[in-house]
């Protein structure tokens, strides 16, 4: 699609990148077919093609109405459209630029600003989340459904974290919400890797990956989180750690982007690129279990997070790992569709998020699974409140299945 950038952005790096992306878009509309919000709302403005158009208008100098911010806010950022797009349009990058522009040009309502500030203040910090989570769990039955759906009824105890006894080491991203709400994930990952000769270690100084801030258009704040993590991990990588392992696919996707995001920061560009190159999703480092060892033949429905399948292009790996342990994988309809969690989306766009979450829960439970598994803490919490079957991180299931070996 031909674009004539307005003067204010024509010569900037963001402008050039956006222009390159827009050149590839031929306006075919295939993307709308797999866009969760277009399918719910049936409005071109709430599908990728229309969002691209709205962003293009801004880049060409049109003054955006408040509605533009609203339609960009409604985007989950699931990037199913990128998987569908035959022309190779990198929608996610364009969305970042569009959101930043809209944020500058459109005055956000007070309530919306406050919500976003509270989210950014709380969620990246485990110590701030923990007391609220404990309280929320206690009063869960009294909470409105929108909130209750995100609060786990009970916390699975993490179990023991094995001692760092192996020469081969990998660094775990401990994360923020995951460390509090689903602590079993990282510990299970450590045990599984320990059994295959790798010690998973953490860096106490590291924290939130910065994705939350980044997607709420607080770019600098997000970059500060990135710099803090880079400072914490570089020494470990220099000491021989093989990889930075993310067990939450949303965080992992963001870590892979550090190199690009900090490319113009002279002090961090090189280190950021190094960290990004070392990032692995947990599915990439867990070896395929040798033989079917599931104590009982579990019937499993897999929800592959968008950040794993559309963002990191690692769809199918969770299934392969679980199949190797003897689990029976149930077919799931519309498996490319977002569950509506999408980070802070579930709180900021609760109505759309609920509709998507309910639809996903129905699809996942259609085959009456013993357990629903996923690979990202946000999806896990979103689905846990909606499924009658237990919803767990796949590594917990794999941990239990391979423990008896």
């Amino acid at each position: 699609m031909h674009t004539t950038l307005a003067d204010f952005i024509a010569t900037t790096a963001a402008g050039e990148e956006a222009s390159e992306i827009l050149r590839k878009c031929v306006h075919c509309g295939f993307c709308n077919a797999t866009c969760p919000t277009y399918r719910l709302l049936g409005d071109e403005l709430d599908g990728p093609r229309g969002r691209i158009y709205q962003i293009k208008e801004m880049l060409e100098g049109a003054e955006p109405a408040a509605s533009v911010l609203q339609h960009l806010d409604r985007c989950l950022g699931c990037r199913a459209c990128e998987t569908t797009c035959p022309s190779g349009v990198e929608y996610g990058k364009l969305l970042d630029t569009g959101r930043e522009l809209a944020e500058q040009r459109v005055q956000r309502g007070r309530w919306s600003q406050l919500q976003r500030r509270v989210l950014r203040w709380m969620f990246p910090f485990p110590l701030r989340i923990a007391p609220w989570l404990r309280l929320a769990m206690r009063v869960r039955p009294l909470l409105p459904r929108v909130l209750a759906a995100h609060v786990p009824p009970v916390l699975t105890p993490p179990g023991a974290w094995p001692e760092a006894r192996h020469a081969r080491r990998m660094v775990a991203l401990a994360g923020c919400v995951q460390s509090v709400a689903t602590p079993a994930t990282s510990a299970a990952a450590a045990r599984v890797l320990d059994r295959s000769g790798i010690s998973l270690v953490t860096a106490p100084a590291a924290g939130c990956c910065g994705a939350l801030s980044h997607h709420l258009a607080a770019r600098e704040e997000g970059l500060d989180f990135a710099r803090r993590n880079i400072d914490a991990w570089i020494p470990l990588l220099e000491a021989g750690a093989e990889a930075v392992v993310a067990s939450a696919s949303g965080c992992g996707l963001h870590l892979r982007d550090y190199g690009r995001l900090l490319a113009s920061d002279a002090a961090y560009a090189e280190k950021a690129a190094r960290v990004s190159a070392a990032v692995r999703d947990l599915t990439e480092v867990v070896p395929l279990p040798a033989a079917g060892a599931s104590p009982q033949r579990l019937r499993v429905a897999v929800h592959t997070p968008c950040t794993l399948q559309h963002g990191q292009h690692l769809g199918g790996r969770v299934e392969a790992l679980l199949r190797a342990t003897g689990c029976e994988l149930l077919p799931v309809a519309d498996a490319g569709t977002c569950c509506g969690s999408a980070g802070s989306y579930s709180l900021l766009q609760s109505e759309l998020s609920s509709q998507l979450g309910d639809a996903r829960a129905r699809a996942l439970q259609a085959g009456a699974p013993d357990v629903v598994v996923t690979a990202n803490v946000g999806c896990q919490l979103q689905l846990a409140g909606r499924c009658t079957a237990p919803v767990r991180h796949w590594i917990e299931v794999l941990d239990e299945a391979t423990r008896v070996l």
Binding site: M1, H2, T4, R23, K24, C25, V26, H27, C28, G29, F30, C31, N32, A33, T34, R39, G42, D43, E44, L45, R49, G50, Y53, Q54, E57, A62, P64, A65, S67, V68, T84, C85, P86, S87, G88, V89
Partner: protein, 497 residues
């Protein structure tokens, strides 16, 4: 409410704000869009070279709301353009500057699937592929499969009489639709066709197919479903020249074989599609044919052997049969994404849609190559070879001054050659606004006058998608000095431009 009489041309709407206020009173919140920011993304369909912002966009949810909009617009003399998924490639859903764009995307429910009768009743906004997905548990599918089937909706398929890869054997949309419910511009509801094999009276359903939104607004469609053939084999053949591949196609058809699909791509298209789909296409080939044979196991095997020997005799450099269902689907996915995948090669492309007698494939491809180098604009060829339905994609850059005009000129020359060899100016994408000029090449005044008379019979005020699909006589007269009767044109109500 009164409908303006045919003699009255559509009154210009004095006040957009008044119209929007009236529309908002009829529809639920969020169903009327009118600010520039909201209208911009609706200014074009899949053919983004043509853009026009409407006065307002309405997105109704039920038939009663559509009726209310139509009655209001009828009374106010406001043109209405219906739009489905907006994937059309001829500008059929290009908005009218003084009109309302009626978006049917929220009519997305599959009302019923009847496995015994092999039919499905669906709303017009249902995606083509969604029908086959809903029918799949019964072993059935909906045969017409435009390449945009993942996104395009059935209402638009009917309006444009969409084709697709498998139309060679199973027919166009018109052959696979059993009934339709439409609304006339005055809001009146009509049922066309039915589930019986024949219905008395004029076949208005066939007339509706390909009427490009000029006769009525489709609000429900009943389609025929087919049983999935027990066996489908896909053969890939490569050639060192598109002309040779074209000749091979003609030889298959001449042998009396009707493949389920017979598609061709040239080198440029092969490389673009491969970059997206990783289908396993040989990227060094000058042309490839995809030939699908379906039926019982025995039928497939027998036909496969005959086709293989014909292709070999025709000079195929490589022959490959898809080893399994996964490879078959992968090979098709490359073909189906070929148009947009060409977006990787150039900032813009212009998709043509001529059809020609299959025996002339080679000649036409040669002529296209000559024209392409004359104009200095690359042309990628992706098309339904078995039908003789060409899709030359002219690659250009709208950012370069004058390049769009040269592209259109080249396009028109290609179409003129199609007509010259006995073909037509559109195979399946419709005329829209894009091929109005080319329609004058195809038809004389007598035919065009009858077309306008049909339009008048359904929409006397000329408010539904005015100015599309059928050129005015004046336009054609200008183009080729057609005789205009005594300086007076018939149908004075029809917009002139």
């Amino acid at each position: 409410m009164d409908t303006p009489s045919p003699e009255q041309p559509p009154a210009a709407v004095a006040d957009a704000a008044t119209l929007c206020r009236e529309l908002r009173a009829l529809l639920p919140p969020g169903a009327v869009l009118s600010s520039p920011s909201e209208l911009a993304p609706y200014e074009c369909d899949g053919l983004s070279a043509y853009r026009q912002r409407p006065l307002a966009v309405v997105i109704p949810r039920c038939v009663e709301e559509v009726q209310a909009v139509l009655r209001l617009c009828s009374a106010r003399g406001v043109p209405v353009v219906a739009r489905g998924a907006g994937t059309g490639l001829s500008g059929g859903a290009l908005p009218h500057a003084a009109g309302v764009l009626l978006v049917m995307a929220r009519f997305d429910r599959i009302l019923s699937v009847d496995p015994a009768a092999c039919t499905a009743r669906v709303q017009p906004g249902v995606r083509n592929l969604a029908i086959s997905e809903a029918a799949a548990p019964h072993g059935l599918y909906y045969a017409p499969d435009p390449s945009s089937q993942i996104a395009c909706s059935i209402g638009g398929n009917v309006a444009e009489n969409a084709g697709g890869v498998h139309c060679l054997k199973y027919g166009l949309t018109v052959h696979n639709v059993l009934a339709a419910e439409i609304l006339l511009m005055n809001g009146e509801r009509l049922t066309l066709g039915g589930e019986g094999p024949d219905s008395p009276g004029y076949d208005l359903l066939a007339l509706l197919c390909g009427s490009e939104g000029l006769l009525g607004v489709i609000v429900e469609v009943t389609v025929r479903l087919l049983a999935r053939p027990p066996c489908a084999r896909l053969l890939l053949a490569t050639f060192d020249s598109p002309v040779r591949a074209g000749a091979a196609v003609a030889s298959i058809i001449a042998a009396g074989i009707v493949p389920a699909g017979l598609e061709m791509m040239d080198g440029l298209a092969i490389r673009a599609a491969e970059a997206f789909a990783h289908a396993g296409y040989p990227t060094d080939a000058a042309a490839l044919l995809l030939c699908e044979l379906d039926g019982t196991e025995e039928e497939c095997t027998g036909q496969l052997m005959r086709v293989e020997s014909l292709l070999r005799a025709g000079g195929a450099t490589e022959l490959r049969v898809a080893a399994d269902e996964a490879e078959r689907l992968r090979l098709w996915s490359g073909r189906k994404s070929a148009f947009p995948a060409v977006g990787r090669l150039a900032p813009d492309y212009y998709c043509m849609d001529g059809s020609i007698p299959r025996s002339r494939l080679g000649d036409v491809l040669e002529r296209i190559a000559v024209l392409s180098s004359e104009y200095g604009l690359p042309v990628a060829n992706v098309f339904h070879a078995g039908d003789g339905n060409l899709h030359p994609l002219i690659l250009y850059d709208a950012g370069k001054p004058g390049e769009l005009q040269r592209t259109e000129e080249l396009g028109e020359k290609i179409l003129a050659f199609c007509v010259e060899v006995g073909g037509t100016i559109t195979g399946e994408h419709g005329v829209g606004v894009e091929k109005l000029g080319a329609m004058c090449l195809q038809f004389g005044a007598a035919e065009l006058e009858r077309f306008h008379a049909v339009k008048e019979a359904f929409d006397p005020a000329g408010l539904l998608n005015p100015g599309k699909a059928v050129p005015t006589l004046a336009r054609c007269a200008e183009g080729r000095r057609m005789h205009v009767h005594g300086g007076e044109l018939p149908f004075p109500g029809i917009e002139r431009f």
